[in-house]
Amino acid sequence: MSAVVTTKRPAWMGWALVALAFAMAAAVDLRLVLVLAIWVGGWIVNGLIAQRSAWNWGGYVIPLIFGITLLAMWEVGERMFEISDVLLPAPSEIAARFWLSRDILWVDFVQTVLKGALSGFVLGCGSAFVLAVVIDRFPFLQLGLLPVGNFVAALPIVGMAPILVMWFGFDWQSKAAVVVVMVFFPMLVNTVQGLQSTDAMQRDLMRTYASSYWQTLLKLRLPAAMPFIFNGLKIASTLALIGAIVAEFFGSPIRGMGFRISTSVGQLALDLVWAEIVVAAIAGSAFYGGIALLERVVTFWHPSQRGRT
């Protein structure tokens, strides 16, 4: 961070740009000016906070303000431009619906996230991990399986979903299967790469101790692979949720986030659709954040984690 580039552009240039933007907005539609004003306001507040970097809570506040700015622009824009609710509801309406439909959202959350995504995630990542260790032991498999694996990983899973629904039925098992397929290869590739990431000297050291395969695996290769494994887990965490939801489009019981979304679009209940999307975003971000947190604990020693305090 010591190398932040400080551009010494004179301040008036920035303001001139802002003024120009306002002028252009005003020329198109006066309402745009207000929307733009919200944006600039949020930006200025964030700029001020960022300057006082000593406030270490800036790391949380700044993205929050950024998000609030976006929501405010959405709300105000929605109201002023009178966008139909069957196309895009306002954040306030979504929030109201969120509160009113807590029970439905919870049922859907359990069905999709806890049953579908989480079980698939655990199963997929777990089996990929085990296979990675096995592959790592047999270079022949590595040479043969990885290119094929990369090809399979390129399969658009949206296409797999109907097939897996056909195979595993319409309940959460098929959603978990889709998730397994989705997370398997990213996890496999990352773990294999991680297990190979030890440098020659670290391995030679183990050889000088005449250490056994398992000792080397446990004491050297697995710890060294952790940053890669977490990379895989992070990718998998975003994929898992998407996979579980997507699979519900191809057949499902009458609960679940994907089911609710598609049904509600058909009923023009867009506020409920967006409430589900909010749940998905929160669940996904929390899932991702949880893994990132765990990563920080487990790979505290890695340079990418050390720099942060």
């Binding site: 964030n46 700029g47 196309l87 022949f140 043969g144 399969l155 949206v158």
Partner: protein, 287 residues
């Protein structure tokens, strides 16, 4: 080259497993048919039947192979029944979305690296954006864009862009930050301007990261294009083929579209790999 034998071995193993799996997967339907027809099935009959059903649960590899052959080589490429025609439709949306996503991704990454406020505010939202199920948004995106008169390639490309900008941002932020402090200090001692530092140091240093993320982005972009083709209805493209196959229970058609899509992705990724090799070689970064 040394991986040819292992790859062939693995592929044959997969094929063998595939054939074997097809028997139990498709057997219930075979028995069902036999029962209703009132005949007994010998093992031979069973195997023969499971490898030749019209709408099998799991089509045998040769069935898929024949379908692909018939819909590529034996069809005029302008025919709507040609998989090549549909691949091209999907590919054009993929490439446009990929281009847009790459540009957006790089611009965001540059902003994040050069602007402190962006650095602190944008990233969590970029991550959150990827947790939104795109398939849920896709129809709405298409309807909304339709409403303002945009249709055809662009809506699909925008969905592709949505999926593909993410790996590019992540990779490029890492890449643009990959120069060591010392290398930045060097630039400083020469009193280089920010743009000189960008073009002569940060950008070249980020090349390996860029290419790695481009490969991921290309695969993601293809998924986006296919997702974009689902809600627009079975109009054209591999996504439409998947949908139509699914609608009519034509598993063979689904599988052949799937394999085409994977092949398309593999070819595009390999192409990026080739460019990567050439560029990095010219930059002296690959041996």
């Amino acid at each position: 080259m040394r991986s040819v034998v292992p790859v062939l071995t693995v592929i044959s193993a997969i094929m063998a497993l595939w054939y074997i799996a097809a028997v139990p997967m498709n057997a219930p339907w075979a028995y069902d048919k036999a029962k209703r027809a009132g005949v007994e099935l010998s093992l031979n009959d069973l195997v023969a039947d499971t490898w030749s059903q019209e709408k099998p649960k799991l089509p045998a590899p040769h069935q898929v192979g024949i379908e692909i052959w018939e819909t590529t080589v034996q069809k005029n490429i302008t025919s709507k029944r040609s998989l090549i025609y549909h691949s091209w439709i999907t590919l054009s949306a993929t490439l446009l979305g990929f281009g847009l996503g790459t540009v957006l991704g790089i611009m965001l990454a540059v902003g994040i690296v050069y602007n402190r406020v962006m650095d602190m505010s944008v990233m969590p939202w970029v991550i959150a954006s990827q947790t939104i199920p795109i398939l849920a948004l896709a129809p709405m995106i298409i309807v909304v864009l339709n409403a303002i008169g945009i249709s055809g390639l662009l809506p699909k490309a925008i969905i592709s862009m949505y999926l593909s900008f993410f790996p590019v941002v992540v990779g490029m932020v890492k890449g643009l930050r990959s120069p060591e402090v010392m290398q930045l200090d060097q630039m400083h001692t020469w009193h280089a301007s920010p743009s000189q530092t960008f073009w002569k140091l940060r950008l070249p240093a980020s090349m390996p990261y860029l290419f790695t993320s481009l490969k991921v982005a290309m695969a993601a972009s293809l998924v986006g294009a296919i997702v974009g083709e689902l809600p627009t209805g079975a109009i054209a493209g591999l996504g439409a083929r998947l949908l139509a196959g699914s609608y009519y229970g034509q598993t063979i058609q689904i599988w052949s579209a799937l394999i085409m899509a994977a092949a398309l992705a593999a070819v595009m990724v390999a192409l990026i790999g080739l460019i990567q090799r050439i560029v990095l070689k010219r930059m002296g970064m690959a041996i």
